[in-house]
Symmetry: D3
Subunit: 322 residues, 6 copies
């Protein structure tokens, strides 16, 4: 039987399903009896709930962060769904498919990786080609690289998001390197593929996506440079100047100091990397925001960070009379 996801719940129905127990707080009714406020989640979202009965037994049996099998009734409370839990039992992690509980890319990870490898295989700069051979031969690196999200919240914030974002940028970078003369295609492509490798350690993404200690202390730019430094040592006679130009791509890819880059882009390739990164992140972030907005009408709710509503209504080309 396929899992019923949070996004599929409707008021008035009954559920019998496994969720992640994200939060759990005990409270007391006026008569002095305890009850539980809980938050249940999976990769499609989260929902609040209450447990009125058998509270003590349940409290003893499940902890925050556990996977739990829940029998419950779905209702509405103050305009939101609320799950009234009848029973809740712990499920061992090995019995669940972890991927049900963290949102993931809908694209084929194997194909995306193969496409990136094909691109680095076409590089004409021997030292860069050798560098990527070293990266792709590192199984632990590849395993993390294909699984990491590209961010905690803003864009591509799901399992495989880093790879999806990187591949989209790589395709754009080939187009753009062909459009402008005087651009070093291999250097640009190398910068694109490496610019966010530090995300594999800046973030943790086992049961939920959050920053690691190392991520908070150092940032993915610093971590990525350290990872690159290590791999550069494995390529014999990597030219010092090329190493500095490549590191500069990572150092400067946020565009300005105010956004966390210690130096701004100073080569044409670094300038292009910054634009491609911003454009691809922004497009993905807006499309996710529009896609997740359940409201009617032509406009999304106000986007606090980008400080505007986005238009999601029809374009004339959609219609016969356009």
């Amino acid at each position: 039987m396929t899992k019923r996801f949070v996004s599929e719940l409707v008021a008035g129905s009954a559920i019998d399903e496994v969720f992640l127990l994200a939060q759990r707080n005990m409270a007391h009714k006026k008569d002095g009896n305890p009850f539980l406020n809980v938050t249940l989640s999976d990769r499609t979202g989260q929902v609040k709930g209450v447990v009125w009965d058998q509270v003590e037994r349940i409290v003893a049996a499940v902890a925050e962060g556990d996977f739990v099998h829940v029998r419950a009734q779905v209702s509405e409370y103050r305009g939101s769904l609320q799950v009234v839990v009848k029973d809740m039992v712990r499920v061992p992690p090995e019995q669940v498919d972890v991927d049900d509980f963290l949102e993931a890319t809908t694209r084929d990870v194997g194909k995306m990786l193969a496409r990136l490898k094909e691109m680095t295989g076409r590089m004409k700069t021997p030292c860069l080609k050798a560098l990527f051979d070293a990266f792709w031969a590192d199984d632990a690196f590849v395993a993390a690289y294909v699984r990491a999200p590209a961010a905690k919240l803003m864009h591509h914030a799901y399992i495989g998001g880093l790879l999806e974002h990187t591949l989209s940028m790589a395709v754009l970078s080939e187009m753009i390197a062909g459009h402008y003369s005087g651009v070093d295609r291999d250097l640009l492509l190398a910068g694109v593929i490496l610019h966010d490798v530090g995300k594999t350690r800046e973030l943790e993404y086992t049961r939920s996506i959050d920053y690691s200690d190392e991520g908070r202390l150092l940032s993915h730019i610093i971590i990525g440079l350290s990872m690159l430094d290590e791999k550069l040592k494995q390529v014999p006679d990597f030219p010092e100047l090329q190493a500095q130009l490549l590191k500069h791509m990572i150092v400067s890819h946020h565009g300005t100091r105010a956004f966390g880059s210690p130096e701004p882009p100073k080569t044409i390739e670094a300038v292009l990397l910054n634009f491609i990164d911003e454009m691809d992140s922004r497009v993905n972030s807006i499309r996710e925001y529009v896609a997740k907005d359940p409201s009617d009408g032509s406009w999304t709710p106000y986007h606090r960070l980008l400080e505007r509503h986005f238009y999601k209504g029809p374009r004339v080309s959609d219609s016969p009379e356009g």
Copy 2:
């Protein structure tokens, strides 16, 4: 005989050539006799000079803004070239090729325009196609559109620069509209072609490039919207919504209020237009800056507006061992 340009002058040589007299100031030597400080220019730059003899006759004969035939000796003064003028006579404008005195695109204007027309000819949205038919049929508009610079100083600041910039963006926009699903290719392309049409009136570009009165009072965004409004009236039954979405492309193409857009981009097409415009302007501006830098070494002088030096040294891919 081909003209000898300012950029070709060398200390120690003699010249016999036509320039624009950009500035002219009288001064007095210690012995009480007058002399002239002058600035001569053409499309390749400007040079300072002095007139020691026959000052009164020359002053009476030539005015600032005149084209002048100059016989002179080129020397150096405090590290710069200085022209010591022996004689200077006014030349009627009809005897000079105005294009020698304003920098212009090196690309073929006719081909660039044809390529743009071909693109609008492939539009599938009837109302947009009809709109561009109206624009291309307006000879006065086309004449200005193919001649206007894209800016006074920053990027594509030469005759034909607007067309060159627009075409480059149009090509990029076709690539990018193909890369991301859900983008209205015709709306994006229309926005690209129209985003800077107001530049044709914001700037004056007969003998030099500067702002017009209308440009200073209204800005090219406002002027462009007014030009679009006029053309929209010539297309029967242009859908109101499409008109607003198209105007929004012009309104928002600077990206933020701080950069002069009354509203930020709120459609995916307007977001893309803003990125493509910024990227193409920035790339052109850096390449011009690097190309015009005569200094040795791997770095340009400090760029005050962009607040950095740019790297112009070799990349490893340039070299055999790369």
Copy 3:
């Protein structure tokens, strides 16, 4: 019988009155029975409420945005008033006075308009006088102009607010044009009357005040310029320079790019318009904020946008010993 308004409700009383049903959400009690959370509003404010009984019948009969006749008991819940609804039935719009449901100016709209017309009638610049004759002769324009609010939230955010704000500015502009020599009184007055005409289309103000699609895509500055362009065509031989100076008043009236003006004020009249607009808006906004603050003491609550508390205590001149 006069309507009892939201602002007049007191805990412990019963009501039998028509409101706008602003929001409606179903929820479920522990026993599984549904209830409704509702928000009722009129021009004096809004109040939350609950419906415990006959929920299904009511849900079927009324929708958000309907006018509803409500019988209920007013109580307090967590420090705010709460309406416990006994019955709720839909009322056709034609049976209500729409003005009861949107806050409106307390001033006489006819007199305010007459005063503005008297001022434009005294203009000595023929082309400007002719322009306003065209505006005042446009009944659809006048109908919108006297009804539009000046903003959604910040100041004069009520029906007729635009007219009230404009007239106050017009009176100030006559004083100030008389105070400083060298100010073109007619140009300043014309700018004052036209600076916000785009608000008539930027906002919607039938049942509530919000932005229109056109408003979000273009902003009132752009819309106002388009409206002015249209009217200018109806005045024969309107001098081009005067048209540009007048448009510049609208373009620059927000003072800086950061506040949405593509160009800053560059004429003395545009500079004055910006100051008069800011002063009148700020004064109105503070007075509204103070007037609506029900708290005791000498200070309003913290004003988040203006980042301060405002003093509302006595001045010494109020008191005998002052």
Copy 4:
């Protein structure tokens, strides 16, 4: 019997204790009967509560701002503690120890003051020494100076906080004046001791810490300068230049106009005062934030004002293997 503080309450226990009644709101149950929502506080924090019974009698007997004797049961509601009040009676202020209700420094106030006096006693600049003799001889001033908090919220926000902050800065200033040559130790120390004297009137700190009317209208910088002006008149022949240099320390101690200083620091002593003030405030503020964070793990919650999480985990020097 020692008082049981808010910070010591645990769900499930009964209490019989005096608190400050910070807030009180009446509400109604579905059956029409009233109940009370209350907030109780003391120097360790605040807790929400409800009164279900005898509501009318209690409402008549106690007002916001009263000290109240409460008998109640502690429970949990939506993840927070909630006090279910059985009875509540007013307690006259003279029967309570006011210090139980406002957080205070844990250091010995008398010793701190003595240390400051010892430091001013060692001054070698006669006029400054005489100035502090005048301050210390002013009993009303000293009483306020040793009791005032250093801020409402940010740092040293407790009774005696101003003195604690000032003494810490004074000790640092002696070290630093010894470290750098050319620093006028007496001028720096005088600036340190006086920089925040205006806080004694900017804030009110009887039952809670908040701004006074004078504080909101003038700021502690202005008030402090006025207090200094008054004392300067009591010192015969105080040199005018020294008075200006000393006032400059107060004027500029926030470092920049944006932080409220009309002039930035222009003497080496004023520059040092600004750094010492910022460092000591920041260190105290972070340590308070870490100390009050009850959460597990190595990181505090996000600090909105300082825009980061703070690390509170172990350092290697804490551990045997460090």
Copy 5:
């Protein structure tokens, strides 16, 4: 014989006139002989010059800051006027009219002061009226108040500028206090007259306008508050609240912390004072800028601080067809 001013010099003429010797530097010709570069100034501007002969005698006789009688020939050098000095002798200050050397208001100082006194004479708040009686009775204060400039550079930067600026604001404040209900006219007027009194000591304005030591250390806001404090003590029983509200006018008149006000305006009168001050300063500053621009055309040069060109061309109302 009337003085010939710097602004009246023309190339080719001879002069025999007194100036202020603003700068004096010795240099050497190639032949080893010394010469002098000098700067001469009066209230209309300054001009550079050279002394070729008798250099040693002149150096011994005149110093920077002296008034000097100059015989010379006026020529042009690199586009500017240059004075070739034949002789230069010191003139004792008592033999010159100091007002020839500092720019001054063109308005009647006595009448301006009388108008201000008339306005304070009409005050209905006894304590404020008494306060101004005390100010006007202080001869030293009045002497400085009618002579001080309002700024070093930006606006009303000439002798009597403070009075001219204050009176203009006072007249505006009466209009505006009459326009808006609920404004305390006396408090607003008092704030207007006192807001910049600190300028009398912040600036020095004997031979040139510059900041005083006290001005640099404290700012005119702080100095003005101290002057007010002193006068307040001379008015028996001045109400404490009124004193604070009046001081708040001075404290907040720059509008924001970033512009040097420790607190922003929090009363309606303080808000109005800030707008009136900004408007009057800006109008004066633009008009001075336009008036002093000798260039042809419709536009001033770029104004660096205000970041724009100003339009100085015709308005249609100027012309017959307007």
Copy 6:
């Protein structure tokens, strides 16, 4: 014979000395004969000069960047010194003391280094102590560390400046770690000593101080982290957490992203490092600015970067009556 430095030159004297030829430009006199404009420099400053005779021979013999022996006469030109060169011959670098041509610390470099080593020798955290043993054992590192300046322009911009700045901070950090409880003294000291090690490669400081290619591409923060990474590998079993906390000190020492730190300080030690660094840099920078100002009076010229004049006048404690 001791060298005569640029700072010691006086108009009217003759010189016979070695300088660095910083700039060299040929120009032509009116008679067509060439001459040279040159700039000569040493560690005390630079001076402009001219060569009138034997120009061609000299041009052939010396290049920019050479050390040159100069015989000349010192005069004044337009208020500055000017050297009239009679003869100029190249001097091989091995014949000059390079230290005469770059400004250097006046403190004893050996003693400063010894003091730092003594401090690290007292560390109680074994892994940190071992880390510094590795650094001090690296002769190439130490040679660069004791010679590097701390900046190109702003503070400690001279040979040995990095060491002087670091030692001053180290002494302060010991005081402050003793003042506040809960500070890890060893971690703070380690951060202080390492925070700017990247400067040894970010800057070049052989004949003049400027940025290296690596410095412009990567910044000293990134370079320093890479140097630390390398040394950490030489310490067996360096705890991972300690490595991250130590790197965080370097990463965050500029305090905010806007100043080039990818992450802000998140530990109490990193917060203190940032304050100590800013304070020590600022104090040094102001003292250098005051020391190098030759002007009379109580104030320095306006400091563009710090946006103020600095007071350099007397303090009362300097005088008998203080």
